[in-house]
Amino acid sequence: MSRVFKLKSSDNETFEVEEAAALLSETIKSSSSTEITVPNVKAEILGKVVEWCNKHAESEDTKDQLIKEWDAEFVSVDQHVLFKLITAADYLQIKELVDQLTQRVGDMIKAKTLKTVEMTYPTFNVEREVQEELKSLGF
């Protein structure tokens, strides 16, 4: 008889999760209780994380092409949502989800689609010593 876990968001919504999906989270795994409150994570985000866990619990083979495509779709979200998902997945210690989300951030940096002012106009922190050394080399 598999247990059912209850995950509560910061805005007081509760999600019921089957054991197989819930145990993808190390935090839940090492928790003594089946009722876990996830602080700082709203229902909208927690719901998505639960969706990911359910999908990955039912499919044994994570190398399957269909699941890969589903995962790719899953991480193609707004930067805003992406970072919130990362925070939630990190708190819940769902390693694979964190890997996928951070990979996505890396891809966005490479594609320069990540929105930060600094990233568009990069500067190096060139300490004075470096400048002086370059001067001595003739530059």
Binding site: I109, K110, K115, V117, F124, N125
Partner: protein, 457 residues
């Protein structure tokens, strides 16, 4: 623990109050993970996102420093910027213990000191793959000799630099694990003093595991008359557009050989492939080549020879694969074919006929065989098939085993083979032919028996 919390709080505040960046605070382990997906040049940029990101510098198993990368050209627009990046990043990476691959493509003349730092950095971390390409002119950059004694190296790719292969302080070239070497536009000399001697043999003898060697557009030594490539481990050899000289290749495990040269200078005369029993793929395009010797078995049909100025061709081996000339060499004076077969299964005769066909452009064909039975094509076949050598002028046969009764069948078969040719008096395999030019290479005796019988007609 306390200190960490304070820093985290501070970061959170920065994120909250700063309107410039929209990347929120993330835990250290998450930021490390993100940075680990980035190549070094982007990770260096990413450190401007926040103090937190700046503090967390990942470890890079592969470091790619490319001054000419179009994707990153905005990084290097200002002069000296790439140099400052080189300087900055080698220090940032200082703590990492491992490095799998280092690739630098830059004007190595200007970045000489910094590149030296990077190469030393890589050597200290037992790098496996090293790729150095110089964008500057004149091959100003001299490869540090300690690269040539790096025990961990499995792959070396050099472009437009200078290499002195002779013993440095660390001893002779020794790269025991090296599998792949690629040399493009290099000057490879043995010695700083002596620019004449080609250092390729020194490099090869120092690499007992080398499987792939590619040499392109290299200066191999001004007075080297002969380049010998001898390697037991080599599987693939490529020599393109080198001002080369006579080439001898001895490589028992060689499977693929590619040679391109447009050079027609007088030094470029002879190519000799010796004991390359496993050759499966041969592609030779050599404008100046006058003499080609294949003492080997061509195992497959995949071969291609473009040698329009060829004057002499020699082959020893089994007639398994046909020689494909892209354009039949019209200046071919002499084709010497030593047949190793000693039995005549059904496929043999068509293989023999097919093999001979390629040499119809020659003036003279010399056929060596132990047992002349092998050149007596069965009569019914002679009626079905057309002659393989209708245009040649002279046919010389050498054989050793006496034919006995079968001798009367020999002449008709040869006449069929070469209807326009003068059938010269038969000779024993041991006999010298008067009009033979002095070969540089010994006439190798392929015969099993030393027969005293001297067959002459």
């Amino acid at each position: 623990m306390n200190r960490r919390i304070t820093e985290n709080d501070r970061n959170r505040q920065t994120a909250a109050t700063s309107s410039a960046t929209t990347i929120p605070y993330l835990p250290d382990n998450v930021v490390e993970k993100i940075l680990s997906f980035l190549p070094i040049n982007l990770a260096a940029q990413a450190n401007t996102v926040s103090k937190q990101w700046a503090a967390l510098w990942p470890s890079f198993p592969v470091i790619d420093l490319d001054e000419a990368d179009p994707i990153n050209c905005e990084l290097y627009i200002e002069p000296g910027r790439f140099l400052s990046f080189l300087h900055h990043s080698v220090r940032r990476c200082g703590d990492q213990k491992r490095l799998d691959k280092l690739r630098i493509r830059a004007n190595l003349r200007y970045a000489y000191v910094l590149v030296r730092e990077w190469v030393d950095f890589a050597i200290d971390r037992c790098v496996k793959e090293l790729d150095l390409r110089n964008l500057g002119e004149n091959r100003y950059y001299l490869l540090a000799h300690n690269v040539l004694t790096l025990k961990s190296l499995t792959s070396l790719n050099l472009e437009n630099v200078r290499v002195y292969a002779s013993s440095g302080i660390d001893g002779p070239v020794s790269l025991p694990l090296l599998k792949t070497m690629s040399l493009t536009e290099l000057e490879i000399f043995d010695d700083e003093e002596d620019w004449a001697i080609c250092a390729v043999p020194s490099l090869i003898s120092g690499c007992p595991s080398m499987e792939q060697l590619s040499i392109k557009k290299c200066k191999l030594g001004y007075s080297t008359m002969e380049l010998e490539i001898s390697s037991y481990s080599l599987k693939s050899l490529e020599i393109m557009h080198c001002h080369c000289m006579n080439l001898v290749v001895t490589a028992k495990n060689l499977e693929s050989f590619t040679f391109y040269s447009d050079c027609t200078c007088p030094y470029h005369k002879t190519m000799y492939l010796w004991e390359c029993d496993n050759l499966k793929h041969v592609d030779i395009s050599c404008l100046g080549l006058k003499q080609l010797l294949l003492h080997t078995c061509l195992k497959t049909l995949e071969n291609s020879f473009y040698t329009p100025n060829l004057e002499a061709f020699e082959f020893s081996g089994y007639l398994k694969a046909k020689v494909h000339f892209v354009d039949a060499p019209s200046k071919l004076l002499k084709a010497t074919i030593r047949v190793w077969e000693t039995s005549w299964p059904i496929e043999y005769y068509s293989a023999m006929r097919g093999f001979l066909e390629s040499f119809n452009c020659s003036k003279k064909v010399k056929l060596h065989i132990e047992d002349a039975e092998g050149v007596i094509i069965p009569e019914h076949r002679r009626m079905e098939w057309s002659s393989p050598l209708p245009s040649i002028k002279q046919l010389q046969l050498y054989f050793s085993a006496p034919l006995g009764d079968r001798e009367y069948c020999l002449r008709p078969s040869l006449i069929w083979m070469a209807p326009s040719a003068e059938i010269l008096p038969f000779l024993d395999n041991d006999d010298d032919d008067e009009d033979d030019n002095d070969d540089d290479y010994d006439d190798d005796d392929d015969n099993d028996d030393d027969d005293d019988d001297h067959n002459e007609d």
